[in-house]
């Protein structure tokens, strides 16, 4: 299906991105578990490849006795392969645990760095279990450094599997350098077998070939890993840029839409003025008291519509109103909504506030509608209380719905954010209205327990009221 509407397709894309990002954030526990699994596996791998290592030693011995360069090269290739098999679960496990823990704790970079300290401990454990020297060689030092750099570069990339692929590709590349005789004097190759291969290469005159092969293959793999890293980072940067552009687009459309509505509302003024004038003329012309009463009702309604229009056109214009006027307006409008019987309104104060009645009511309706969407149709309940708290008038909308997760709570105010059922404009609009009223808004939610939205607005004291009326 091709979506022709750019707003709708943009919103869908935005929702998909938000879901992907949210999904990754939720997975930290799973990451830690997988990390522990890989660490566990790394303790078993040396046992599993013991036979292959023995055969590799035999290849090296034979290459010494026969002077066979090909056999030594084969042994070197096998060693690199087995080294990567032994190193990969340790590196993967430490990375997963690091990523998992860093999403839980506050100082994520420091926590990630600390998590990598698991690696030397695992190496020590393997050495102790198998009574071998499982050394922290050059390839591990370089790979750990690359992991740290990648962690900083790819913080926003949610796909851990891609990052793991890149890291292990680097590891494989760096493991190839362990068989390069030229690097041995710098202490890069620490393992006994790697040292043996390098030693034998000198003995049978194969050091040139080993240098060439080791460097070439390593370089090819590392270049590939670098290109892949660049492509992935660019891809995600582009995705984030698209997301940002979509947001701006939505904001622009939103603003344009309201401008159109304002023009439309403004145009209503002319026929209203005509109705008002002609209604006055009719009232003067007729003697029938019943008709005069009707004239008064019409005049009153025109007055109401006129004041509503004025509030829409001048959204920053606040008047002193009784909070009861807001709740009455809400009751009238909610009576038209589906599930309105689920909404209970409790007025616990009679205070006055500076408000744009129409916009504030629309904001509250928005919140109530969100709550109605979140509750269970059978047992769900939405309660609006208007009360006083800390010298402010408090509008609190509470529901016993499905709630919002901690990760999504941080995003709900973003323009375009949506749980999937609405346009994603609602709460952003609510926040703007509350800000225009010099108020505060806060939201508390627990998944499967419900959500409470609190709007604090300054109440009108007596002096303000006098100034307003004066």
């Amino acid at each position: 299906m091709v979506l022709k509407n750019p707003v709708v397709s943009g919103l869908l894309e935005k929702i998909l991105i938000s879901k992907t990002i949210g999904k990754s954030a939720k997975n930290h526990n799973r990451k830690i578990l997988f990390g522990l699994f890989f660490i566990g596996a790394s303790l078993i791998v040396p046992l599993a490849i013991q036979t292959q290592i023995n055969s590799l030693l035999e290849d090296i011995r034979q290459s010494v006795l026969t002077g066979d360069t090909g056999l030594l090269l084969l042994a070197a290739t096998k060693l690199v392969f087995f080294n990567t098999i032994r190193h990969a679960p340790v590196i993967t496990g430490a990375f997963l645990i690091g990523e998992g823990l860093s999403s839980i704790f506050k100082y994520n970079r420091f926590v990630f760095f600390l998590s990598l300290l698991i690696i030397p401990f695992v190496f020590k454990a393997i050495s102790a279990i198998y009574n071998i020297q499982f050394l922290f060689t050059g390839s591990i030092y370089v790979t750990v450094s690359v992991i740290l750099v990648l962690f900083f570069l790819t913080t926003k990339i949610p796909r851990t599997i891609i990052k793991l692929f890149i890291i292990n590709l680097f590891l494989f590349g760096f493991d190839w350098l362990e068989i390069v005789p030229m690097l041995e004097k710098f202490g890069y190759s620490g393992g006994e077998i790697a040292k043996s291969i390098i030693m034998v290469s000198g003995f049978i005159g194969a050091d040139y070939i080993l240098n060439y092969v080791g460097f070439t293959i390593s370089l090819m793999i590392i270049i590939n890993a670098l290109i892949l890293t660049k492509v992935i980072i660019d891809h995600y940067n582009r995705m984030f840029l698209i997301e940002k552009l979509r947001k701006t687009e939505i904001e622009a459309l939103h603003s344009r839409y309201f401008q159109e509505v304002k023009h439309l509302v403004h145009d209503l003024k002319t026929p209203l003025f005509t109705i008002h004038g002609l209604n006055g003329a009719i009232k003067m012309m007729v003697e029938n008291p019943k008709v005069k009463t009707y004239n008064d009702v019409i005049a009153n309604s025109v007055e109401n519509i006129s004041s509503m229009i004025s509030e829409i056109l001048h959204e920053r214009k606040l008047s002193v109103i009784d909070v009861k006027e807001i709740t009455d307006f809400l009751k009238t409008h909610l009576s038209l909504e589906e599930n309105q019987e689920k909404v209970k309104i409790k007025l616990l104060t009679e205070k006055k506030i500076h408000a744009n009645k129409y916009l504030l009511s629309r904001a509250l309706i928005n919140i109530i509608n969100n709550s109605l969407q979140a509750i269970d149709p059978e047992i769900g309940l939405v309660q609006l209380n208007v009360d006083e708290e800390n010298g402010m008038v408090l509008f609190s909308v509470m529901d016993n719905g499905r709630g919002i997760s901690k990760e999504n709570l941080e995003k709900i105010w973003e323009l375009g954010y949506s749980s999937g059922k609405s346009t994603g404009l609602g709460l952003n609009f609510v926040k703007k209205v509350v800000n225009n009223h010099r108020g505060d808004i806060e939201i508390q939610s627990k998944p499967k327990q419900g959500t409470t939205v609190k709007i604090y607005l300054p109440k009108v004291d007596l002096n303000d009221e006098k100034i307003a009326s004066g």
Binding site: Q50, I53, N54, L57, E58, I60, R61, V64, L65, G67, N131, I132, Q133, E192, I193, K195, S196, M199, V200, G202, F203, I204
Partner: protein, 188 residues
């Protein structure tokens, strides 16, 4: 007169320099074929030694896990020291097995007055105390010692024991050209 003084000064200056730069004469070791090459510690060094002899066309028998009884029929034994975790493990031995085996060979060789040539290349020495243990067992009983001068192993200990027991020590300068070095050290 001036010429004489000049000559005296020259002699005074050059004689010590000449003694410094002159290489110590190598001990030449006479090889009596057939001889057995075995490993103490199962490192790859024993294979390097065998390959060097092969290159020189000298027939040697390599038995990395030789036992005391295997000495029969040989005139000499060359023990190549060097501990390898991987080598010991792949041979299915423990370190205690290995040290026991080496001790028995040394004991038997002494018993039958067979010359023991101890070669220590130390190419894979990673500071493991087990390699030092092996060296401590072999060195005092060796008839001849050959060491690689640039190895990272405990050479000072070897020199000390050799001096104490009056054991001649020969040197290998280039482990990559072992056959050339052997042709200098051994008399075939």
């Amino acid at each position: 007169m001036v010429t004489k003084i000049f000559l005296v000064v020259a002699i005074i200056l050059f004689v010590p320099l000449m003694s410094i730069s002159a290489e110590e004469p190598e001990n030449e070791i006479l090889l009596h074929e057939p001889f057995l090459v075995t490993s103490a510690g199962q490192s790859l060094d024993a294979y390097l030694v065998k390959a060097a002899f092969d290159k020189l066309g000298v027939k040697s028998d390599l038995e990395t896990i030789a036992y005391a009884d295997d000495l029969e029929g040989f005139n000499q034994i060359i023990i190549v020291g060097g501990f390898s975790h991987k080598g010991i493990a792949s041979a299915g031995l423990s370190f205690l097995d290995e040290i026991e085996r080496v001790s028995q060979i040394l004991e038997k060789a002494e018993e039958i007055s067979m010359p023991i040539i101890f070669i220590y290349l130390g190419t894979f020495f990673l500071g493991d105390s087990r390699e030092v243990n092996l060296i401590e067992v072999i060195t005092p009983l060796a008839s001849q010692i050959i060491v690689y001068v640039e190895c990272s192993g405990p050479l000072s200990y070897i020199y000390e024991v050799a001096e104490k027991n009056d054991i001649p020590v020969s040197h290998i300068n280039d482990v990559n050209d072992l056959s050339e070095e052997f042709s200098r050290i051994f008399l075939f």
